[in-house]
Assembly symmetry: C2
Homo-oligomer: 243 residues x 2
């Protein structure tokens, strides 16, 4: 049967989700754990290729296995073989033709900024430290222009191989708690580095380097060079994927 | 002149605040940075001896130095010589006889628990993961008995050298945000491991291993063995010290 896992991880020490030669990935680490548990070679298909340093609360991956372990116990069994910075939170049965990437309806990412003159050291690997005070109201104004269906080429890293650059952002919420600023963004899919480029662009708005009304022009330019810089990976977390 | 620094750190990679042979401490790391900056040997006196793995947002330390660097610039100058997991947030002049430990009026610590079946991996070094659901109301009830002046011998690790075991807890607030549970505790001083033993005891209340009405008996016993286990260091942060 096909089993869908929900996986959380601290991406700090991994070279991203995707299996690759010479570098330790989360996918490979999960596959090694599963192969040990089931005593046979197991491969998984993941939903999102998170980059080096990016974290996840709700990554998804499927594997095919016949097992007598009840699905409610399976996360405990798998976690037994995983390092502590990767945790399987849930396992559920899905149809044999279920695909975690293509069947996703929408995904939510959270980007975290620590906005204070000096960084909080415990957040080094989990936030982007922006020392200059950010203008949240302007950022909120800018975020409204990002909502909806657009060709997001201006917010896509070069080298991306997606067939189409059109994506729909359903929701983009910006909120502040003490020195922390959060961007919660939900959409039907995201181009390579798209969330981090949106975060970097919103920070440019927050420091008045560009204005909210520049956003429509940046989007319609379809030129990566017009948008802000790519925010660092450690601020990004894949929160959930809905099917 | 005597300068009082406010210091934040991620305690994960250090063997606590206190300078010691053979192990890297936060105090020594700070002294090395200051000695490089001022090009002479600098020693500091800290306010609190945080343990291995314990974090700080508001540790305090004094040094004596004649410098022409304006105090508002001093944190930037010092941070230049510090690793990223230690940050000086503030520098202010104090009187020559000021002592960061003896002159403290009260201190606030925060203890963080992640209360969900599976740990959130990004919180491994910053929370105590308690999988069993905690009864917050019972914990709040128990916390009221801890308030006030008591002989806290039952909440003091053996080997502590304090002259008196009497301390006053002014405030102990317990609150929950999603899976996170926070204990904010303010008092005129804390015995060795006292906050972590209080946290461990409150968790015993939260899992109904002991009842709130047991707390007065535990306190009056003055026996360490009656209280709960010592909660792990990674959940603890020294938040601030008031003078």
């Amino acid at each position: 049967m096909r089993i869908l896992l929900t996986v959380a991880y601290d991406g700090t020490k991994y070279f991203g989700w995707q299996r690759q030669n010479d570098f330790v990935s989360i996918q490979e680490t999960l596959e090694i754990a599963l192969s040990k548990l089931f005593n046979k070679k197991i491969l998984v298909i993941g939903a999102s290729r998170t980059d080096t340093g990016v974290h996840a609360m709700g990554q998804r991956a499927v594997l095919d296995i016949e097992t007598t372990i009840p699905l409610t116990n399976l996360p405990y069994a798998i976690n037994n073989y995983l390092p502590k910075d990767i945790r399987v939170h849930k396992a559920m049965e899905v149809q044999e033709n279920f695909h975690p990437q293509y069947d996703a309806k929408n995904k939510t990412y959270r980007y975290k900024i620590y906005n204070a003159p000096f960084q909080n050291p415990v957040l080094n690997s989990y936030t982007w430290h922006v020392p200059k005070k950010l203008d949240i109201e302007k950022m909120r104004e800018a975020s409204k222009h990002i909502l909806g269906e657009h060709n997001f080429s201006a917010f896509c890293a070069s080298g991306a191989t997606s067939k189409t650059r059109v994506r729909t952002v359903y929701n983009l919420e910006i909120y502040k708690e003490d020195e922390m600023i959060f961007f919660d963004i939900n959409g039907n899919g995201f181009l390579y580095n798209m969330v981090r480029i949106i975060a970097g662009t919103l920070v440019y708005v927050g420091i008045h380097k560009i204005s909210p009304s520049d956003i429509p022009k940046i989007i319609s330019s379809e030129e990566r060079g017009k948008a802000g810089k790519t925010a660092p990976p450690e601020g990004l977390t894949l929160m959930c994927i809905n099917y």
